[in-house]
Symmetry: C2
């Protein structure tokens, strides 16, 4: 992209210009302390879309995230609006109010530069990397279920009056470019021939073709897509996989909410459990000896179930104690019969959310194997044939979840299914 | 409301100041022709909310609608924002683009005065009055199904790209005060003790109390309310009853879309068939001799079924020929198997819409009998005991529709139920 095509006031920073920029922000410079020349700057990227710098000074560290006017993963041929930084900032403000200590503090936001200066987490690592190494995070289920229950419940019709809810919908309505990435890459392209698609070839050629020709699956994924586009249930993170979480054994921080908008709650919870299933089925490719990761695999499946169980319990707890929204008004459900009915409505609501979660989880699993963006959980398996076997199992698990979502009643059952699938040795032609 | 509390630039017009105002608009004055003193002005009201004037000059007539800063039906104690005129204008612009000749042309819009100058329809009458008199409108089902199919389909995810759809959601997101009227008066208050409620007392006291104590019904209506608040499927009129339609035998015009917002399609279709059922069950109170209205009643039920049948057929026709939206992308359903699957998705979609329609229709029927705003279909029945009997039948029909919506498969069946209910003579204590 040529310099003259960039929006006014915007300039991508580099290791040198970043220091000058930060030095001009007194409260940031004060946090780093010392002279700019004493600061160290590293560009670490965040994978697919942006510039990310870690900056250290004598006083401490900060992270700086700047949007690029194109998709970094693909290049300048795929433009992407800088206003996503505005939505990320807006989401971070909401999330830090609703789930403090689970997201980064923002120190500075520059809308024209599409840049956010925020808290740097050390010695945290990206959770996906930890899980590939087989590290346990025993506090994670508690933390992430709190994050999801609070950010989703407290921005829903159960907690907000209708006017405040609609104002929130309107304030995120412009984040369409990032929604479109999801609409195309998750809900459409993996089910048709599209130049963005890739998979572990030639092993998965046949399975990929099966998926492109599975009409039932196309119907199911199209209903999910419509739900994604047209269900502003709550402020969702929009990209809540294990790559958007920084962890230590004690601490959990959710980052990168630039895909945030008012959408279906099941999409966030589904994204999280999808990535647990993917990691579970990838472990066979990371074992140094057979069975080495058996205990870890058990932890992954237990944690998957715990995430939903704790989410459900916290969400319902908020509903029972904080029914401040216009939906299911308590005044309508007074007395013993009313209370019973309201509990039955709550069960119905959670059941619907569970079904949504399974469908969205399945879509997220399939796109990571047949679509554009893949997971290092699988990509780092060197033996391509072994990798393809792990991926084939994940595809089968996901297909069943998507098609049978309405009939499935417990995560334990799906975990059992995942564990059975490990015994399946796909024959590749 | 005191003069000094009115928004700047706003002043309610009267028979005299209206002439001065219109004379200052050259293109409007030109339409009326002659001197202002030769114009005749009548204030006709529109029932519940606004000032409505009919103005005639030597050149023709116009209608002028001005919002008042309070609910006219209730008085100055219930304030209502003037910006509803902005949303009405916005909706009229969309509707006249999508369904030309089925809505009034707008000649002038003054946002500060909360005023719209528009086409005057003569010799049209409000359809509800015609139906109370037993007049047939044989072209109505065709016209209203076109209006609904086109305004709903063409503003849905089936016709619009996701970004245009979200922009439309945002542009109507501020019409919250009018949505709240619906949320409170339709989906909440009739099911609890509320000062706004009234019913034909003492005859319906017991039934009203039954409804306030029916937990199953409260659960069902709460799910409908959530759907109303949280399903921006399409641009809905929001108040599409027979009082919002002006008709002759040949012509149909839908007016008063000030409740418009991006909501569930079933709410509009449900409002229309609800008012047909109410009129049907009110006919016993308007007969001069037993059986006098038998043929008319048959027409009402046939037309009710025709409205849905033609709506469905036109909506599906648009879907098959105009699939320009991001939902159910045709590229995903190529080939014979894909086409079959897409048709099966369309059936599923229409089935869901049918169920929504029944639930919303039931809610609209109940509110007109137990809530604040009643229908003249019933109110004009002088014999209160007879009126209560008609209303009780409508309440029972509605209760069944709301609770069993998911199990009901055809409107013919519900029409049969309505016809059976006429034989029921409620015993009032």
């Amino acid at each position: 992209m040529k310099q003259e095509e960039l929006p006014e006031g915007y300039k991508p920073l580099d290791l040198v210009s970043l220091k000058t920029y930060l030095a001009s922000l007194p409260h940031v410079a004060e946090r780093l302390r010392g002279e700019p020349k004493s600061w160290t700057v590293n560009e670490v990227g965040d994978g697919n879309l942006n510039l990310v710098f870690k900056v250290h000074g004598p006083g401490g560290g900060i992270a700086v995230k700047q949007a690029l006017p194109y998709v970094r993963l693909v290049g300048e041929s795929w433009p992407l609006p800088l206003n996503r930084s505005h939505y990320e900032h807006l989401a971070l403000m909401e999330q830090s109010r609703l789930a403090p200590n689970l997201v980064p503090k923002v120190y500075h936001h520059d809308q024209r530069m599409a840049l956010i200066v925020m808290e740097l987490f050390e010695p945290h690592i990206i959770m996906r990397r930890g899980m590939i190494e087989g590290r346990r995070y025993d506090r994670f289920a508690d933390h992430i279920s709190t994050f999801m229950a609070r950010t989703l419940y407290l921005t829903s019709d159960l907690a907000l009056t209708a006017d405040r809810k609609k104002a929130l919908i309107a304030s995120f309505a412009g984040n369409t470019a990032l929604c479109k990435i999801t609409e195309d890459l998750i809900f459409t392209e993996p089910y048709m021939s599209a130049p963005n698609n890739r998979w572990t070839s030639p092993y998965l050629d046949e399975l990929a073709s099966d998926f492109r020709n599975d009409s039932t699956l196309k119907g199911a994924v199209s209903r999910l897509k419509l739900k994604f586009m047209s269900s502003p249930e709550a402020l969702i993170h929009g990209d809540l996989h294990t790559g958007s979480v920084m962890v230590t054994e004690q601490d959990t921080r959710v980052i990168d909410p630039e895909f945030a908008f008012m959408g279906p709650m099941g999409f966030d919870i589904g994204a999280m459990i999808a990535n647990f299933f993917l990691n579970y089925l990838a472990q066979d490719g990371h074992e140094e000896r057979l069975g080495q990761r058996e205990a870890y695999r058990r932890w992954v499946l237990e944690t998957t179930q715990q995430i939903w169980a704790e989410f459900q319990s916290k969400f319902l707890g908020l509903w029972r104690s904080n029914a401040t929204g216009d939906a299911y008004r308590p005044a309508l459900f007074e007395g013993a019969a009313g209370q019973l009915q309201l509990e039955s409505e709550r069960s119905l609501y959670m059941r619907k959310l569970f079904v949504d979660m399974l469908g969205f989880a399945a879509a997220k699993m399939i796109r990571r194997i047949l679509g554009l963006a893949h997971n290092i959980d699988f990509e780092w398996i060197q033996d391509k044939c072994l990798r393809a076997a792990c991926e084939a199992r994940a595809l089968e698990l996901a297909r069943g979840m998507m098609i049978n979502a309405e009939g499935l009643t417990s995560l334990a059952h799906i975990c059992e299914e995942a564990s059975q699938l490990r015994k399946w040795q796909p024959q590749f032609h």
